[in-house]
């Protein structure tokens, strides 16, 4: 395919993904989808190879292809069908992320699709023990409703039994139905758009071949980017802050080998399942690798399966990076995903110190609070907090910024105080928290919130005992800390815990700083 066709095909297929995402944002009702844009839309060929992706949330990158492949393996999609799934052990990330999948067929009687479309969105609730379906639980059953790949819609309408089963297990069924309808609407529009582009007759087949060329195109860009980096092999061990279920110290082990245009990513030696819901489904680990390779490529590289053509990825089955049922996974998606990127970053920083910055905060610093059950009536609150970025060859790390697998906005103080019984007392860069170095790490964030009513506060954070490492002689960033301040007395809290706060108590969160890069100058 020539240079012009390539550009035109890219535009066509990416615009289908963009439009699906835009329509879903416009018609959904979950704040997660509408405001935090926690969703992804992608176009696949008939065999489930991702050809175009509307990038919002990196943690969906590797998960979308696995979800679509699970649907194609388990089900027979027919024209007009929409499949649904969120199963973390079949391509899902964590339960609130629900993926809807639709095939685009050349004719109403065709057996195999020419294209497959998918829209994944983070629903505000998916049932389970706690509102929001994000709190750490003992097993996946308590986290929420698990949906294996199943046919949800036939010919444009939900299967009544399936719909009733789904809705019977959600806390706000009207909102859920609206969010799912938004996803289905986006898929229908995507199909319409693809058909219009393909025209009549053999158009879809031809367009599918052009999609294949787009995958090779991304592969060429990734290959060029990898070739330009020095060859080498490095091993790193990144310890986790929780032990394995067997009680041994847990760690991610990574052996990274770069030769020519190929990258071998091997997690052999990584520990088995851990507690506190920090197990990562395979989809999450793949997403981290996907994201890492994409970061090495030029700014406008398309995100499709071609990025991984030169990558040989090996994840030991049953390890904490390829969690198996029934281990809980809510924290794996938000915290362990960051740790996988840390491992890749650290290894790359050793291989390519002139290119890579040091690892940053490495935690999404998730926290939630809600009613204690004593009659308070305010909704559950959830946010992720930014931390310091690592220093690097290009300069010091940025202060208090969302990194790697997420990029969601903080809630404005005025909105927060208007809708919840709180007063924010401090929100500032956490001075001195960045690791020292030739280029210092960025500062974390300090946030102090006073509760005006009793509340149940849940924390899901890491990097509170093991700091973000520095590289090339740089010093580590400061660890994160959380305090409860009651009557002037500070009590440090466990980073993954849940406790009652009384009216007047202050929650003070200090997020980790970034690691330093290079030996600090002598004073």
């Amino acid at each position: 395919m020539d240079a012009v066709d390539l550009a035109l095909t890219r535009d066509l297929l990416e615009s289908v993904a963009d439009e699906m995402a835009a329509v879903c944002v416009r018609t959904a009702v979950s704040p997660n989808i509408k405001e935090r844009r926690d969703l992804s839309a992608a176009v696949f060929d008939g065999a489930g190879v991702m050809v175009a992706h509307a990038a919002h949330i990196p943690v969906h990158l590797g998960a979308m292809p696995l979800s679509v492949r699970a649907v194609l393996n388990d089900l027979t999609l027919r024209p007009g069908d929409v499949a649904l799934l969120n199963d973390p052990f079949r391509g899902g990330t964590h339960l609130p992320d629900v993926t809807a999948v639709r095939g685009v067929f050349a004719s109403p009687r065709a057996r195999t699709p020419r294209f497959v479309l998918a829209v994944r969105a983070h629903h505000a609730d998916i049932g389970g023990a706690e509102p929001g379906s994000m709190a750490p639980q003992g097993d996946v059953f308590a986290e929420g409703l698990r949906i294996p790949p199943l046919i949800w819609q036939r010919g444009g309408t939900p299967e009544p039994g399936v719909q009733r089963l789904l809705m019977a297990n959600m806390r706000d069924p009207a909102d859920r139905a609206a969010d799912l309808a938004a996803q289905a609407g986006a898929l229908a529009l995507g199909e319409q758009r693809l058909r219009a582009m393909a025209g009549q007759g053999q158009g879809l087949a031809k367009l599918a071949r052009r999609g294949g060329a787009l995958v090779s195109y991304a592969a060429r860009m990734a290959s060029r980017a990898l070739t330009d980096l020095p060859d080498g092999r490095v091993q790193v061990r990144v310890p986790l802050e929780v032990p394995t279920l067997a009680g041994a110290p847990a760690a991610i082990r990574l052996s990274l080998t770069k030769l020519g245009a190929c990258l071998r990513v091997d997690f052999a030696g990584t520990s088995g399942p851990v507690g506190e819901s920090l197990n990562a489904p395979e989809a999450v680990t793949r997403s981290a690798v996907y994201y890492f390779v994409r970061c090495l490529c030029p700014a406008d590289t398309p995100t499709n399966d071609g990025l991984l053509h030169g990558v040989d990825l090996s994840i030991p089955p049953g390890s904490l990076l390829a969690a198996e049922a029934p281990h809980p996974v809510a924290g794996g998606n938000v915290e362990t995903s960051q740790r996988v990127v840390d491992a890749l970053w650290l290894a790359a920083a050793k291989l390519w110190p002139r290119t890579m910055p040091a690892p940053g905060a490495g935690s999404m610093s998730n926290w939630t609070f809600g009613p204690t059950g004593d009659g308070e009536s305010f909704p559950t609150y959830y946010e992720t907090l930014p931390g310091g970025a690592g220093g690097g060859p290009a300069g010091p790390g940025h202060d208090a910024i969302q990194q790697h697998m997420t990029n969601t906005s903080s809630t404005p103080v005025e909105v927060f105080e208007s809708r919840w019984p709180v007063r924010v007392e401090l929100m500032a860069r956490r001075r001195g928290s960045g690791g020292a170095g030739k280029q210092r790490g960025g500062a974390g964030l300090t946030r102090a919130v006073r509760f005006l009513s009793p509340a149940r506060v849940g924390l899901l954070m890491t990097r509170h005992t093991l700091p973000p490492p520095g590289v090339a002689g740089g010093k580590p960033g400061a660890v994160g800390r959380v305090f409860r301040v009651r009557g002037g007395r500070r009590t440090r809290l466990a980073p993954r815990s849940s406790q009652r706060f009384e009216a007047g108590d202050v929650l003070r969160i200090e997020t980790p700083g970034g690691g330093g890069w290079g030996r600090p100058a002598r004073r």
Binding site: D2, A3, V4, L8, R10, D11, L12, S15, E19, A22, V23, R26, T27, P31, E35, A55, H56, P58, A178, A182, A196, A218, R220, M221, R224, A225, Y291, R294, C295, L296, C297, A299, D300, T355, M356, P386, G392, A394, G395, H398, D399, A400, I401, Q402, Q403, N407, S409, S410, P412, V413, E414, V415, E417, S418, R423, V424, A428, R429, L445, A448
Partner: protein
């Protein structure tokens, strides 16, 4: 000539762009236009040059300027000190915590426009009531602390000032003694989000001194009678008096694009198009907007480069493709157009100043442009364009001809994408809309872009490269006011509306507007939800809310409580009485068999079949093969598929 408002006194619209400064003057005798090179080092020079060229020094001047925008984009504005609630001094540095580029190895955000911050020890709660008093000694301390930071302008944003501005106002009064402009967030915007409101106040403070110096220089060049009548384009497609500009500088930041959309809306109305999209292609970028109904589309915020301000603004989508966009091959072997651009200097290769190969060069080699632009005043160097094309064609393994056609198609695809985002993403169907193309490069790209979307008709106004100046000339005076409504108690919406309307009318009448029309809208939401729906304020607003919610989100819950978030009153009026728009008369169609023709040589009724080129001073229209162009009664060109 378009059916138009007659101006008893001469009125002139002037638009300062990056490359050219345009003027359109109308008086009893008719219409005069000019296009002169911009003078970015001293934009008032080109302004006065253009004004003199149309003999408009005594006219009522209506101006769209990029002075504020440029100060922001080049970061050459004032030294701003930010004053906020103690504990939140880092607000401009923190933003909402997100990074600009998802996949950057070193994540970052743009540094804020403020250089230092000072905290005020006082606190207002979410209902707007003081929870910690603001003591007089604290005001003294804050003033001294701000002075020590040597500001050229000050922005003040205290928490919850949109609901309870008392503290903010007292801080503002205490700082006036410093002798530099002070902007309060509660005056700059009613946005109930401190980051957005604070950023708006910072932008206002940042551009204010630059705007003042510029407007003073401009006023010195005007006849004394014209000075008082100087009005500026607002970002929402209206105009405001110079005095209002100093009170609300952030409102002018998108004045150029707003003028274009306003003029396109005017054209849609005259041609009775129920739906249209504006398509404004300049040197570096393309701005598009969806137009429906009898008013310009307005959004609650605007974006200038990486900065945003919560002030009403025309809703536009922008892509980085324009006439000066560089054409290149990426590392995967695909042909790309933009976002890098050759700029005004050196410009495209065919400007003969050593510039790279651009879209303009592809148009020239592809037969879409004449040998000289600006009616012959600006000759183009086809050989230089060809040299650039050959290098690229060799690398891509294709011919120069295929390369140029390909680049044009890639550019059309990327502008089509912007049109889709402005329509489909908001639930509109572009195939139902007419495409109104203008800007220096809109008419040459429009038909090929429309074809990609199945848009049936393209409209090219007379003087398409002067449409922003035309828009400034015709835009009404506008004013608006917003009040946040307290949660909980049932608010007296009628009283809020009355209060706001009085203020809006007073502002407009002070500016000399007659026939003022106002409308009131409210933002409401279901209790517990974060996003709002805007509906007209009437006794039946609740029913309208449920209907609108159903339309936008596919469901409504009439049993659920609805809460009002804010009320906004918008008003518009004009200085003179405006004539009714006369319906377009129909004209007899006559075929003209030409491949290239000057627009002045085409009378109403003329029909050209593509491929054909229609040249004029301010732009060139390309009629592709399979398309035809009709000259309508008012001189507007209408392009569509040939039958």
């Amino acid at each position: 000539m378009p059916a138009m408002t007659r101006h008893a006194v001469a009125a002139v619209g002037i638009d300062t762009g990056g490359t050219f400064t345009d003027a359109v003057l109308e008086d009893a005798a008719g219409r005069r236009t000019t296009k002169v090179p911009s003078t970015p080092h001293a934009p008032e020079e080109a302004f006065l040059h253009a004004l003199t060229a149309v003999d408009g020094l005594n006219a009522r001047v209506r101006h769209g300027t990029t002075v504020g925008t440029n100060a922001v984009l080049t970061r050459r504005g004032a030294r701003v000190v930010f004053v906020t609630t103690a504990g939140f001094e880092d607000l401009p540095w923190l933003g909402r915590g997100v990074r600009a580029d998802l996949h950057a190895l070193a994540p970052c955000r743009e540094a804020p426009l403020a250089v230092a911050a000072v905290g005020v020890r006082a606190r207002t709660g979410p209902a707007g009531r003081a929870e910690q008093a603001l003591e007089p000694e604290e005001l003294t301390r804050v003033a001294a602390s701000v002075r020590a930071k040597r500001p050229e302008a000050v922005a003040v944003c205290l928490l919850h000032a949109a609901r309870g501005p008392a503290h903010e106002r007292r801080v503002g009064r205490a700082l006036r003694a410093l002798g530099v402009p002070v902007y309060l967030s509660s005056t700059a915007s009613a946005d109930p989000r401190e980051g957005e409101r604070g950023a708006t106040a910072i932008l206002a403070a940042y551009v204010a001194p630059t705007l003042r110096r510029y407007l003073d220089a401009v006023a010195r060049g005007l006849a004394p009678s014209s000075r008082a009548a100087l009005t500026l384009m607002r970002s929402d497609g209206g105009r405001m008096a110079k005095r209002e500009v100093f009170a609300q500088p952030a409102r002018t930041l998108l004045s150029g694009p707003a003028a274009g959309v306003s003029a396109a809306q005017d054209l849609a109305r005259r041609h009775a198009l129920p739906r249209a999209m504006s398509f404004d292609v300049g040197g570096t970028s393309t701005d598009v907007a969806w137009i429906e109904g009898d008013d310009v589309p307005v959004r609650a915020a605007l974006q200038v480069g990486p900065f945003s301000a919560s002030v009403p603004s025309v809703g536009i989508e922008t892509v980085g493709a324009g006439g000066g966009s560089l054409i290149w091959l990426d590392s995967g072997g695909a042909l790309r157009v933009g976002p890098q651009s050759a700029g005004a200097v050196p410009g495209p290769a065919c400007y003969g100043q050593g510039g790279g190969f651009t879209l303009t060069d592809a148009w020239l080699l592809g037969g879409r442009l004449p040998e000289a632009l600006l009616d012959g005043a600006h000759p183009l160097d086809a050989a230089a364009a060809e040299r650039g094309a050959r290098v690229l064609a060799r690398a891509a393994g294709t011919s120069v001809r295929a390369l140029c056609e390909g680049a044009i198609q890639v550019a059309a695809a990327s502008t089509a994408r912007a049109l889709r985002l402005a329509s489909v993403a908001h639930g509109h169907d572009p195939r139902e809309a007419g495409l109104i193309a203008f800007g220096g490069a809109g008419p040459v790209l429009a038909a090929e872009t429309a074809a990609r979307l199945g848009m049936p008709r393209v409209y090219i106004p007379v003087d398409p490269g002067l449409l922003a100046a035309e828009g400034a000339l015709r835009a009404p005076l506008r004013a608006d006011a917003t009040e946040l409504v307290g949660a909980g108690r049932r608010p007296d919406l009628g009283a809020v509306r009355g209060r706001l309307e009085k203020g809006v009318r007073r502002t407009l009448e002070r500016e000399g507007a007659r026939g003022v029309r106002v409308r009131a809208d409210l933002e409401a939401r279901y209790g517990g939800q974060a996003f709002t729906v805007s509906v007209p304020l009437s006794v039946r607003w609740q029913a309208a809310f449920h209907r609108q919610h159903e339309r936008r989100y596919g469901f409504a819950t009439p049993a659920r409580a609805v809460e009002v978030v804010s009320v906004t009153v918008r008003g518009l009026g004009r200085e003179g009485a405006s004539r009714r728009v006369a319906p377009l008369r129909s004209v007899r169609t006559r075929r003209v068999d030409r491949r290239a023709v000057h627009r002045a040589d085409l009378d109403p009724g003329a029909r050209l079949r593509g491929p054909a080129r229609i040249d004029e001073l301010s732009g060139t229209t390309w009629v592709p093969k399979g398309w035809q162009a009709d000259v309508l009664a008012d001189g507007v060109l209408r392009l569509g598929r040939a039958r």
